[in-house]
């Protein structure tokens, strides 16, 4: 319990640090992102004073004390006031983020967890059958796949599976004529559209999990408790899963938390290739249009999601390792 409370405290502290980083970034940059943003926005018509204030609070103007700016900024973040997007004028930034986030959370989130589970299982098998083809095949192909840039895997799948064979749609999250709802037909349609982006993330992130699990499991197989379990005549599956793999899982879980940021980053590029309407795609539009308010809000949301995911991993670790309970 104390462990979980401590991790929760750490989460709050990290969240605060991430928000502050988000506050500091545009202010550290040369030029004035805020002025540029207001100028860009004024192309769409007169800028309301409240909108201007929100943008200035977020991106920084050289007026007012930094403390005043900072508290105002924190206030805005807590109330999810991120201003107006000028790429998608007059939509508010929060509504844009709100539309994009579910697509990414569901697709990237599920696939990442799936990849970790599948990769770890393959790693367990490879370590347990060390030296056989069951080991060398996944290890070598894992090392190769892990070196693929995410967007390149995406491009290859788009080209071969999408264009050449035409098995799956290569663009968007659902058919152009469909209206988002929770009907059976629409969910099926969006799953169909999610196949290629999901496959991309699965293929590219799998290698890392395979290698990680295999290497730690080879370590635990050499431990005395595994030898002793064998000496006591436990069944092979019990020894492999409850003794060797169960202990190898712990460091890999920590590794999973650490690597999440990288996987999410890679998935953003995947969304861009597939025109998938998630945060990655939106971030790309924001960046190319210099839509700074949208960009900052997206970065903040991505960071918060990764931090919360990390906290969940920490809690899971606490549940799995009795040593944290003391």
């Amino acid at each position: 319990m104390r462990y979980i409370l401590r991790k929760f405290g750490l989460l709050l502290l990290t969240l605060w640090a991430a928000v502050t980083l988000n506050y500091a970034l545009p202010r550290l940059m040369p030029g004035s992102p805020a002025d540029a943003a207001v100028a860009k926005l004024s192309q769409n018509g007169p800028v309301a004073p409240s909108t201007r204030a929100a943008i200035e609070a977020q991106l920084g103007v050289p007026t007012g004390s930094w403390w005043h700016q900072y508290t105002q900024y924190l206030d805005n973040v807590v109330h999810l006031r991120f201003g107006v997007s000028y790429t998608f004028f007059p939509q508010s930034v929060s509504s844009m983020v709100g539309q994009a986030l579910p697509w990414t959370l569901v697709m990237v989130g599920l696939v990442t967890v799936l990849a970790f589970v599948v990769g770890s299982l393959i790693g367990v098998a490879a370590a347990w059958r060390r030296g056989t083809w069951l080991d060398s095949l996944p290890t070598l192909s894992g090392a190769f796949l892990a070196a693929f840039p995410y967007f390149w895997t995406a491009l290859l799948l788009v080209f071969f599976v999408g264009y050449v064979f035409g098995w799956f749609p290569t663009s968007g999250a659902y058919s152009a004529d469909a209206v988002p709802n929770l009907s059976f037909g629409f969910v099926g349609d969006s799953l169909y559209h999610a196949v290629l982006p999901a496959l991309t993330i699965l293929i590219t992130s799998l290698g890392g999990w395979i290698l990680g699990m295999r290497n730690t499991m080879i370590g635990t197989i050499g431990e005395d408790y595994v030898t002793f379990a064998e000496a006591n005549g436990l069944r092979g599956r019990t020894v492999a899963l409850r003794y060797a793999a169960r202990n190898a899982l712990l460091p890999n879980l920590t590794g999973f938390g650490m690597a999440l940021g990288g996987v999410v980053g890679g998935s953003l590029l995947v969304e861009q290739v597939f025109n998938y309407p998630g945060v990655g795609h939106l971030l790309y539009s924001a960046v190319t249009n210099h839509d700074y308010p949208l960009m900052q809000a997206l970065f903040l949301m991505i960071t918060v999601c990764v931090l919360v995911a990390n906290f969940i991993v920490d809690v899971l670790y606490g549940v799995l390792d009795p040593r944290t309970r003391r």
Partner: protein
């Protein structure tokens, strides 16, 4: 028919990218039902490899290269993996070296039992818990440990749990591989007693693998001595003790003596401190001039986590180490003896009390002033494998203190380095100077460590368990070297150890430390022969004393 019949067994060790070595060469022996047999040898003798082969736990790079192991008439090597797994119940079981890591850290003790019962199905589900409690009681534990995780148990308790787990298989043959090595002397003693009593009561056949001939002679009816993969002697324990045939057995046996005896002698270490080697190169400075004075020193460590109670490692210790004196500091691990060494050498500061050396106040020394202290107070480390940087040659390791403390440099410094190597007996000196640590044996490394401590021309040497990591046959040489050095150079020696025998051999005075306090001190021979404090007596009693057993057993010999 013998329970175990081993014929011409050879085990080869084939590490990748290195020459294969024969770990066990052509071993043949039989073990009868109900016998308790010891297997003794030093590190690298192949005794553990043999143990693993007997229980078919040998894994690559070890491979059985020839011969047969018949267990109750069936060839063990012929069993397929499922047959092998099944026969672990009611067949052969093994207790591993240092039970510390033999239990799965994420499963409770109860789960460990349940896993075994489930694998063999020999205990019905509703009887499992009571059966586990029964087994735990046999090793003097209670059912309360069932719900504990291994991390919550002490080392001795964990080893007892491993024994109970092995017992739960109802084995006909139990192999104990160094079951007490990683444990403290007193715990060792208690666990060995449990093993002995169990074997008598349950009547299983047992093999006890150990590097400690004393422990084996105390427990077993028959001993096999192994050296370089060969069983060089196989005889009843009493014969081994009274009429050892092989020279190597005699060497091993020679290192057992009772520290309580009136005169204690070891091969290479005569009792009266006569020189064992011609005097080495002397030195300019005379004997030590200053005493180390420790007054009322305590060291308290904060609890490991917030909220834990602080741990007092050293409590109100006072003593003087006079110039040229040799004093032993003995106690179990956790008695505070190593902490005291850190305090005296200025590596750590005491929480209260004062330590002085001459006019230096050691307890107040800043890190930068340590240089001044270390010019006169040097340290010999416990683990010769850890005390030398693997990347530096012997010459580099010795040149640094010579340059830093004696002001010599260039050829002059080199001359001194070679001289030091000569003093510690590493000749030809030129060759040893050029070597890297991994090209040296353990004993040679420890000599380099001693030479490095001498390089500063110190007045005081602090030796922290200098021989505990070395094989028995190498210990005497290093101890003799320490004793000679003290005489030749007149340095004071603070000898920290858990080993009472070696303390008796190299020191004049002794202090017994228990839970951070000095419980007894005085002239070494007197304290060890006529201990006054209860703790000292218990410490002495826990030493393996084969002589005691055979003397007590009288003429009818081998009753264990």
């Amino acid at each position: 028919m013998s329970l175990l019949d081993v014929k011409n067994l050879s085990v080869v060790y084939e590490p990748r990218g290195a020459e294969p070595t024969m770990a066990v060469k052509d071993a043949s022996f039989r073990i009868e039902e109900g016998e308790f047999v010891g297997l003794v040898g030093e590190s690298g003798s192949g005794k553990s490899t043999l143990g693993f082969a007997l229980t078919r736990l040998a894994k690559p790079p070890a491979r059985i290269a020839g011969g047969r192991i018949l267990f109750d008439g069936t060839d063990v090597a012929a069993l397929d993996s499922e047959q092998l797994r099944r026969q672990r119940h009611g067949g052969f079981a093994m207790v591993l070296q240092s039970g510390m890591n033999a239990l799965n850290p994420v499963r409770t003790v109860g789960h460990h039992f349940a896993d075994i019962f489930a694998a063999h199905g020999h205990v019905p589900r509703q009887r499992r818990r009571s059966r586990a409690v029964e087994l735990l009681e046999k090793v003097e534990l209670t059912g309360a440990v069932l719900d504990r995780y291994p991390g919550e148990l002490s080392g001795g308790m964990r080893q007892r749990v491993s024994i109970a787990l092995a017992l739960s298989l109802e084995p006909r043959l139990m192999v104990f591989d160094e079951p007490t090595t990683a444990l403290d002397v007193m715990v060792q003693h208690a666990v060995m007693r449990t093993i002995r009593e169990l074997q008598e009561r349950e009547g299983f056949t047992a093999v006890l693998i150990s590097h400690d001939l004393g422990v084996v002679l105390e427990s077993t009816a028959r001993v096999m001595v192994m050296k370089d993969g060969v069983i060089v002697e196989d005889a009843p324990s009493r014969e081994i003790f009274e009429r050892p045939q092989h020279a190597y057995t005699r060497t091993l046996l020679g290192h057992y003596a009772d520290p309580r005896a009136e005169v204690v002698e070891l091969p290479g270490l005569p009792a009266d401190g006569r020189r064992t080697a011609p005097a080495g190169g002397g030195r300019g400075r005379a004997a030590a001039q200053a005493a180390i004075v420790v007054e009322d020193v305590s060291r308290v460590y904060p609890g490991r986590r917030r909220g834990d109670t602080p741990v007092a490692a050293v409590r109100e210790v006072s003593f003087r180490l006079e110039p040229g004196q040799s004093m032993a500091l003995v106690g179990q691990s956790g008695s505070g003896k190593s902490t005291l060494a850190k305090l005296i050498t200025g590596v750590e500061q005491p929480s209260s009390g004062t330590i002085s050396f001459g006019d230096l106040r050691v307890d107040r020394l800043r890190r930068r002033k340590l240089h001044k202290l270390h010019a006169d107070v040097q340290m010999v480390f416990q683990d010769p494998y850890a005390a030398l940087n693997p990347l530096h040659t012997v010459e580099y390791a010795l040149t640094r203190p010579v340059v830093n403390f004696t002001g010599r440099s260039g050829a002059d410094a080199r001359r001194r380095v070679l001289e030091l190597l000569e003093i510690v007996g590493l000749t030809p000196v030129e060759q040893f100077a050029a070597r890297l640590p991994h090209e040296l044996s353990g004993g040679q490394r420890q000599r380099v460590v001693i030479a490095r401590a001498l390089a500063a021309d110190p007045q005081v040497l602090i030796a922290d368990e200098p021989v505990s990591m070395l094989d028995v046959s190498l210990r005497a040489g290093v101890l003799a070297l320490l004793r000679d050095l003290r005489e030749d150079f007149g340095v004071s020696l603070l000898y920290i150890t858990h080993d009472l025998l070696s303390a008796r051999m190299v020191t004049d005075r002794i202090m017994v430390l228990h839970e951070g306090r000095v419980v007894e001190s005085g002239p070494t021979a007197q304290v060890l022969r006529f201990p006054e404090h209860d703790y000292t007596t218990r410490l002495l009693d826990s030493l393996p004393q084969p002589a005691r057993r055979f003397a007590a057993a009288g003429s009818d010999g081998d009753a264990a």
